[in-house]
């Protein structure tokens, strides 16, 4: 239903036509995609938890990154995995990639790890390895806890993992210093907590899509998760911490600006409303 034609300034900023709002939003997004002006990114407590958990792993222990994601959540989980890998390399921690579901995840993560390894001059099989996709959910975890070389068998390239230098002295879950779950699937966390973190007290950290993250805050409170990356925001924060601002930072930067715009519009509308109300003595004009 059409409002009366605005005349005063306070009316005008109360009734910005919707087309202007649309144009402003599109303008901000395009502008920030093409010529980004970085707004500050401050790592949140859950994100710092992930970084600290990685840094705290003793040098003789392995970090296991399970990359249970595929193309459908890649926008969030891809940058998450990438920055976690950077955090491992920078802290000179040995890590392995594996996954339980979907098979694609371990391939996508392998590409990311290879790219990063080149940068740090790290060698496959020595500084990092890829255990590959392992079918069997709970059964894999239970077997892994007791005897890793047996449970894993061959790596991503078909080499028996026992022959990799990185696996020297690695027999069971006690040589694993941290498990990082990167996933867009529910139930993975419950499985790791129930079968690994609970019985063996192996530290656990996780990275989730923004949609599923809220379910897992309680695990953070109870310290069952040392840290957590929440969607693209968590990925962006970790990218900043490892000094590799990438895709997630770019997206979160646009998000920040879009949110600033919406907040500013709301404030403007209210300002106009309050001015107009002051003028008419508290009554709605």
């Amino acid at each position: 239903m059409s409002a009366p034609q605005p005349t005063t300034l306070s009316d005008r900023i109360q009734q910005i036509p919707r087309h202007y709002v649309y144009l402003l939003l599109a303008g901000v997004v395009v502008w920030q995609l093409l010529f980004p002006i970085r707004l500050p990114i401050t790592p949140s407590v859950p994100t710092r938890g992930v970084y600290q958990a990685i840094a705290a792993v003793p040098d003789d222990k392995l970090i296991v990154i399970t990359t249970d994601w595929d193309a459908s959540t890649q926008a969030e989980t891809g940058p998450q995995t990438q920055s976690i890998i950077h955090a491992c390399f920078q802290n000179k921690k040995k890590f392995v990639i594996m996954n339980l579901q979907p098979p694609m995840g371990v391939k996508l993560a392998n590409d990311l790890a290879q790219e990063a390894a080149k940068e740090y001059g790290a060698a496959y099989g020595v500084d990092w390895a890829n255990w590959g996709y392992k079918y069997g959910y709970e059964n894999v975890l239970m077997a892994l806890a007791k005897n890793i070389p047996n449970a894993i068998g061959d790596d991503f390239y078909g080499t028996p993992v026992a022959e990799l230098p990185i696996m020297e002295g690695v027999t069971d879950i006690h040589q694993v210093g941290l498990v990082v779950i990167v996933t867009g699937l529910s139930a993975m966390t419950e499985m790791w907590i129930g079968l690994i973190q609970g019985p063996y007290k192996t530290p656990l950290a996780a990275a989730y899509t923004a949609v599923m993250a809220p379910i897992y805050y309680p695990y953070l409170d109870s310290d069952q998760l040392k840290g957590m990356l929440v969607g693209a925001k968590g990925a962006a924060e970790l990218e900043v911490m490892v000094d590799r601002p990438g895709k997630a930072v770019a997206i979160m930067n646009v998000q920040s600006w879009a949110h600033v715009l919406i907040v500013a519009l709301i404030l403007l509308g209210n300002l106009g409303y309050l001015f107009a109300r002051g003028r008419t003595g508290g009554r709605q004009p």
Partner: protein, 226 residues
């Protein structure tokens, strides 16, 4: 022959065509609306056959020779009697069947849907052994007490057969008013929580338009904004 270039251009034009509706409903958006509705109608038929009927009905009936599957389409055909005044009661018969299924399905879902929601409300309200004052304040008061207060005031808002005046009613009325306020807070929170997801969708589309499509014409765009 690779379809990639056609896909790129078709997708870009379709996206821009839809965005014209932001100005107002117009001949271009109307054309794409009809194409979209048409494609989805065609796809509905294909999917109904290829993902549903072929495997669940046709193959068992013809290849496994389970001839009793013929009864399913006969029952389904009763729906078509809505177009006849005299025979429409047969359509109502099969509709009645689906009404019953709808009700029965809800009976089945009642506990799986709601029991976990009920048990998730069972949160202790007292001082737990071994917690300091600070964690009592944060974990119990700011979390569990507030949770309980909001839950009960909101529930009181949804009583319809009790008046909000009179001796008992005034108390209920106040609680219901408080419940309404809490509802508004929750709605605001849900609104705020959705903004980011919706902006993401648009960022995704703009990345496609700027980098993939414009970038294929003017390489400069392909290198911008990651």
């Amino acid at each position: 022959m690779s379809p990639d270039l056609f896909i790129l251009w078709a997708a870009a034009i379709a996206t821009l065509g839809i965005y014209t509706i932001l100005y107002r409903e117009n001949p271009i958006s109307r054309l794409f609306e009809h194409i979209f509705v048409g494609l989805s109608a065609g796809y509905l038929i294909v999917a109904t056959w290829a993902l549903n009927l072929e495997g669940k009905w046709w193959n068992p009936m013809i290849h496994d020779r389970k001839w009793y599957w013929i009864f399913a389409p006969i029952v389904g055909a009763l729906f078509y009697f809505i177009y006849s005044r005299r025979l429409s009661w047969l359509a109502r018969l099969v509709m009645g069947l689906f009404f019953g299924v709808g009700a029965g399905t809800f009976f089945r879902q009642f506990f799986p849907l709601f029991a976990p929601q009920i048990t998730a409300c069972f949160k202790p309200l007292d001082y737990q052994a071994g917690m300091g004052f600070q964690s009592f304040l944060f974990e119990i008061v700011l979390h569990h007490w507030i949770f309980a207060i909001i839950l009960f005031t909101v529930l009181s808002y949804f009583f319809f057969s009790l008046p909000h005046e009179g001796r008992f009613g005034r108390g209920l009325g106040r609680s219901a008013l408080l419940g309404r306020w809490f509802l508004m807070i929750a709605f605001g929170a849900m609104f705020g929580n959705t903004v980011m997801a919706r902006i993401s969708l648009f960022i995704g589309r703009m990345q496609f338009l700027l980098q993939d499509w414009l970038g294929s014409i003017i390489p400069w765009f392909a290198g911008r904004g990651l």
